[in-house]
Amino acid sequence: MSGIEILAIVLGGLTVGSALMVVASPHPVRSVLFLILTFFLITGNYVLMNAQFLAIVNIIVYTGAVMVLFLFVLMFLNLSKDNEPRSSMKMKVAATVAGGALMIVIIAALKDVIMLPIDLPVDNQQGLVENLGMLLFTKYVLPFEVSSILFISAMVGAVLLAKREKQIID
């Protein structure tokens, strides 16, 4: 086993472990912190696959913006362990069995997929900023511009939803 192989397996194991802790940890804030750890480990996987642009974007967008938003809302609402709603034991067992069955079905279906050997030479520099930028601003320039409309509508929607109802009525 080469060093990079061991690194990939350790990273994968840590990712699964911290993702489990997100679901299992009873305290919501701890759960958010474990999700941030999971995103960092997934970023490690991206670096391992030479997707450097996505690794940086993952850190900036997910751990930098989205998770801070989650943490902010969680602390803003002042949810603690005491008023955390709990689901029954029956529900937990049923959910674990359902999720496990889904996992087994997908893995069993994909396990024996025969990956055809690739004839063309694989370019392992695709994840770099220059190559992705060329692709983003030529082939995918229309979806890129449309996503700005999505963002502005999301922003207007969020502001409108979070506004006090009294002010809307006045």
Partner: protein
């Protein structure tokens, strides 16, 4: 570049299929088990990330950049979804003083 050749170093793309399937299943379990609506949203983020991981794995395996552009767009949509979802939850909390996911049963009327 040594790092780009991870699939030539013995790690097969099946490893990433299994890894992202496990992460997706954990996300599904989280959505069903947890009753705190914020944690449910976080589990959805986890599921989106597992799909991203698989897309990047196949993108690297085939040496095509298109899948990584798709991951970029998934991140855009996930960020928009998180803001809207959280503002709906703040609204729910303001009316009910709780973020129990069961409160959404009221929508049945």
């Amino acid at each position: 570049m040594i790092l780009g050749t991870i699939f030539e170093s013995g790690i097969s793309v099946q490893f990433y299929i299994v890894l992202s399937t496990i992460l997706f299943a954990i996300g599904v379990i989280g959505v069903i088990v947890r009753r705190n609506a914020i944690i449910v949203l976080m589990s959805i983020e986890l599921m989106l990330n597992s799909v991203n991981l698989l897309l990047v794995a196949f993108s690297t395996y085939f040496g095509q950049g298109d899948a990584q552009i798709f991951v970029f767009f998934i991140m855009v949509v996930a960020a928009a979804e998180a803001t809207i979802g959280l503002s709906i939850l703040v609204l729910l909390y303001r009316n009910n003083r709780s973020v129990d996911i069961e409160l959404f049963n009221k929508l049945k009327g």
